[in-house]
Amino acid sequence: MKRKLLLCAALALAASSLSPTGWTQPAPPVADEAKQWLERMVDATQNLNYEGTFIYVQGPHVEAMRIVHSNGPDGERQRLFSLNGPPREVVIANNNVICLLPSQQATFVNRDSPRSPFPLSIPREIGRLESHYQLEILGEDRVAGLEARVIAIKPRDAWRFGYRLWLDQRNAMVLRSALLDDRGHPVEQLMFTDLQVKPQIDETAFQSPALPESSANRNDADAPPPVGEPVRESAWRVEQLPEGFIKVLHNRFAESTGRHPTEHLVFADGLATISVFLEKLDGAPALLQGASQLGSMNAFGKAVDGYQVLVVGEVPAATVQHIATMIQYDPTQLKATPP
């Protein structure tokens, strides 16, 4: 009898001692501080006026790039271009994304969304991020001659990659970033060698010699009409998404070549993004079957019921493969549509 009572007391003690160290505890102050740094970072990268040069390393490849960014009465503008190799450039202005790529001087634009190319509900995104990543302040460092605060974003499971960020002590601008695989090895790194935050950016810094005059300022009237449209009914189901990924977009867009419209689903966890593309093959061979990788990006392709399923994202290979295998085609989900 006495022994039994003792046991009960021991159990009660164990139970009461569990909760303070368990998951019911509120986030430690370090995590809160790291979160604030992240919020400031998003704000800084979107709202500051800056010009800088950085090194981009991805596996064995090294690139130097320059970025010019401003946010003024005309909205947010950004010009990003390569400093070595064939000239490549991305200009973002007036809700347009214009890319200049080397092959045949191909230029293309995106106007498929009325939203800004840089929208983001900071508290919402970071709130979402916190449930699947652990935020930590690692200490201090120096990047591009500037004092930096080092933040770690560690995934809580194996579905996503981790990041390490070096943020400017003064304004939280990102000075260096590293994407780490599950063993903590860098997969992709970006590091500024020079960064200037200015009250105003000189207009000439946005002028691209490669792009036709004022293409970045082209008004909406002479741009092609948007064709991507939201999908309300789809025969496709993605079951058992990795936890934390939510669907942020489901569009149908037509290729310029007049092919079948492609369905595009985007899933995001606040940091990583996964795209699923679904295109009817019409007897043609599949574009990609199996896995492929470039730096931080993984892709997995599969043919399902005569459709090409392609999953792409900056997540581990197992994640894109998992999603590709979980996709199901169920035409009975569709209401009868006219022939």
Binding site: F108, N110, T257, G270, S275, G290, Q293
Partner: protein, 205 residues
Amino acid sequence: MAEKTAEQRPVQAAHDVAQVDLAASQLSAMVDGELVDAEINLALRRLSRDGDVQGRWERYHLISDALQGHLPAALDAKFAMRLRQAIDREPVSQPTTRSLPTWYKPVTGFALAASVVLAALFGLQLTQPDAALTSNHSIAAATRAPSTASPAQTALLSSSSANDANEPTDARLNSYLVNHNGHASRNSVNGMLPYVRMVGYQTNR
């Protein structure tokens, strides 16, 4: 609606009337720009098949133009027929775009015509891309070489060999990748990186 009445075979005459009325009201709505896309496709298909509907289309346009004061000096009564001939000559239906300067290749979404992005993403694991691309023999050899060839390797080889012959395949996969990055930048706390990746892929070939 029309499909349901079609089941009632005995009242064929009533069905035909309903069908014609539906087509007519659809045409009228299309002339007025009030049809949704799916219905436009249906109406256009009818229009291209049916001579009666074509005549109707012409009349509706005439009415609409007259009401809005847009009548041309001379009327072309054979418009619908010529339109159909023109449609027949088209290889595939193309999305309509306005005429633009030649440098500018407007495409939908983030599609693009270059093959570089694809080569970067889907060709990275090829150890000897040139050899694999120039000779079928070496492709076969490469696929056979590691007895435990991963799906990734075989897929890469087959997709790269297809790329050579099939430029549109490249363009499609490219557009997927670029499209993904465009959306990634919108949905990630670290919104700068996806654009950096877009620029960075190009020389990874």
